[in-house]
């Protein structure tokens, strides 16, 4: 069944210039494989649509069950010059958690 990421995972966003990184961790260890398989860089890029002008890279840190997404071009000019309300992009973690994934029946 389709579930939103926030039901099985937590996330934090941080900024460096106009690049935002968004981390993702499962609440339950058995869901890490699911995140790895379905929350690909391409899927995240598609999910954010035109909020991300550049590429999305994904790094894996299995020792802490983490995925790290690096979103290029989320803010024009970075925190000190972006016109956006959330110039840091700190709220983008909750944007990622709105993404839907397929969870095998009965699980979660």
């Amino acid at each position: 069944m389709k579930r939103k990421l926030h039901e099985i995972a937590h996330s934090r966003a941080g900024d460096k210039g106009d690049i935002t990184n968004v981390s993702l961790f499962p609440y339950r260890p058995e869901h890490y494989a699911l995140l790895r398989e379905q929350v690909t860089a391409a899927a995240v890029k598609a999910h954010f649509g035109d909020m991300v002008r550049g590429e999305v890279l994904r790094y894996e840190v299995p020792s802490i069950q983490g995925l790290n997404f690096v979103l290029h071009g989320t803010r024009s000019g970075g925190v000190s010059s972006a016109p956006d309300l959330d110039a840091h992009g700190k709220s983008l973690s909750f944007g990622l958690l709105e993404m839907e994934i397929e969870i095998p029946g009965g699980e979660g």
Binding site: I19, N21, S23, F48, M51, Y59, G77, D86, S91, F94
Partner: protein
């Protein structure tokens, strides 16, 4: 050797709370208290203050923080390391000396580290701006500040000299915490594994409460007790560079695997190559173990040789940000906010401000999540239009807020609560300098 070194973080940004640092000094059983108080833009603003008054240009709240912790430096031998020197560490040193005298702390050695200010160096050189490729010097008088990120190495002479307070300008955040580790454990500056491991702990500490439950709570899902009393973090560092992240018992917040995991990857790109002036740190195989009672063991972070050049942050004047907001409520609130936004766009177009320069967002609907929000969230009961643009001319920037305010009488029904603002923008760019072109210096003062 089983001796561990306890280091606390007293602030994670320039305006952070003061009282958690006092709690750490009183009850944290710490040897070092480090304050990270220098966002990229803060130093450019401080540079402007210094230009207006040579006795200013240090970080905000220097006085309050020093008044709070200097008594502990004198009485308990606590050592404070901070980048609160901002654009003017020597002025911060004089101010701190003045406070120590006024408080009657007794003998206290204070140090200021300079050399991060490389404005003249980059204006005289041919170094390119990393983002644009154009020479830095072409920025001319738009360039307000140029500060190299110094490493732990620049702080060591002050620690060796026995300074109880070390005031720096731009230093890489984790280096503030790594310097005491190198000094106390006598790590070699080429011991990349230990420097990488220590940098991991420094990185976990540098944003203060972000590892002890701040920036984490989500009621009913990720609960955090008493954030109004959140305890700032302590690292218990082992001689091998591993350690335990914890906080003062009885304070609010929490330290667990989740808070530590989130902070480990905060503001990280490639976890196997986190570049600092000290080391190329590698967090890609870091191990964490929850020991209970707000204690998490961190192990297995590593490192490789440090980058050849130093990153330099450039503060550049870049026009003005003008913005305006106004709210709508009840039935059709969203439609009226949209209509209002379109009216402002047309008015600004007529004033010579093309719509592609103007950001229109509706707070309560799509301001933060744009297209994600527009895919199927319920319609809000109130909607707040926000219009913003970065423009070269201050008068044009002011016009943005004025056109929004004008909607009171000229816009859709029931427009309320307008606010407007216009402020200068200081953008941050980057260049790199070979290490040999950056010279650091230590100045010492003695409180009587």
């Amino acid at each position: 050797m089983t001796k561990t070194l306890r280091i606390g973080c007293g602030a994670g940004y320039a305006g952070d709370r003061i009282d958690p640092a006092v709690t750490l000094a009183e009850r944290g059983d710490i040897r070092y208290l480090c304050f990270e108080c220098l966002a990229e833009r803060t130093i450019a603003i401080a540079q402007l203050e210094k230009a207006a008054d040579p006795g200013k240009g240090y970080g905000p709240f220097l006085e309050e923080r020093m008044e709070a912790v200097l008594p502990f430096c004198a009485r308990d031998g606590l050592v404070v390391v901070t980048n609160l020197g901002a654009a003017n560490p020597p002025a911060a040193l004089e101010k701190t000396l003045e406070i120590a005298r006024r408080l009657g702390t007794g003998p206290l050695r204070l140090g200021a580290v300079t050399g991060d200010d490389v404005l003249e160096t980059v204006l005289a050189g041919n170094d390119p701006v990393a983002e644009t490729g154009a020479p830095v010097r072409d920025l001319g008088d738009r360039l307000l500040s140029a500060n190299a990120y110094l490493g732990a190495e620049a702080i060591l002479p002050a620690l060796r000299a026995g300074c109880r307070v070390v005031l720096t300008g731009r230093v890489a955040d984790p280096s503030l915490f790594l310097a005491p580790m190198i000094h106390e454990f006598r790590w070699d500056l080429g011991d990349w594994r230990r420097l990488g491991a220590g940098t991991a702990l420094g990185h976990l500490l540098e944003c203060a409460a972000q590892v002890t439950g701040g920036f984490f709570a989500d009621p009913g899902v990720k609960d955090v007790p008493r954030l109004e009393d959140v305890g700032f973090p302590i690292a218990e560092v082992s001689p091998d560079g591993g350690g335990v992240i914890t906080k003062v018992p009885g304070t609010g917040g929490r330290v667990d695997l989740r808070t530590c995991r989130e902070q480990m990857l905060y503001e990280i790109h490639d976890p196997s190559a986190y570049l600092t002036p000290d080391v190329t740190a590698d967090f890609s195989a870091v191990l964490m173990e929850d020991l209970g009672q707000d204690r998490v063991r961190i192990a297995n972070a590593a490192g490789r040789a440090r980058p050849e050049s130093l990153k330099v942050s450039l503060g550049v004047r870049e026009g003005f940000l003008g913005e305006g907001e106004i709210s709508f409520a009840g039935r059709g609130a969203l439609e009226r906010a949209r209509m209002a936004g379109e009216i402002v766009l047309r008015r600004l177009e007529r004033a010579g401000i093309p719509r592609n320069l103007v950001k229109v967002e509706i707070i309560g609907y799509n301001a933060l999540l744009g297209p994600i929000a527009e895919r199927g969230f319920p319609v809000p009961s109130d909607a707040r239009l926000r219009v913003a643009a970065r423009l070269e001319d201050r008068r044009q920037a002011e016009r943005v807020g004025e056109e929004v305010e004008n909607l009171y009488l000229n816009g859709p029904a029931g427009a309320g609560g307008a606010r407007k603002a216009a402020r200068p923008v200081i953008a941050i760019y980057t260049t790199f300098l070979p290490r040999e072109r950056v010279r650091t210096e230590l100045t010492i003062r003695e409180a009587p």
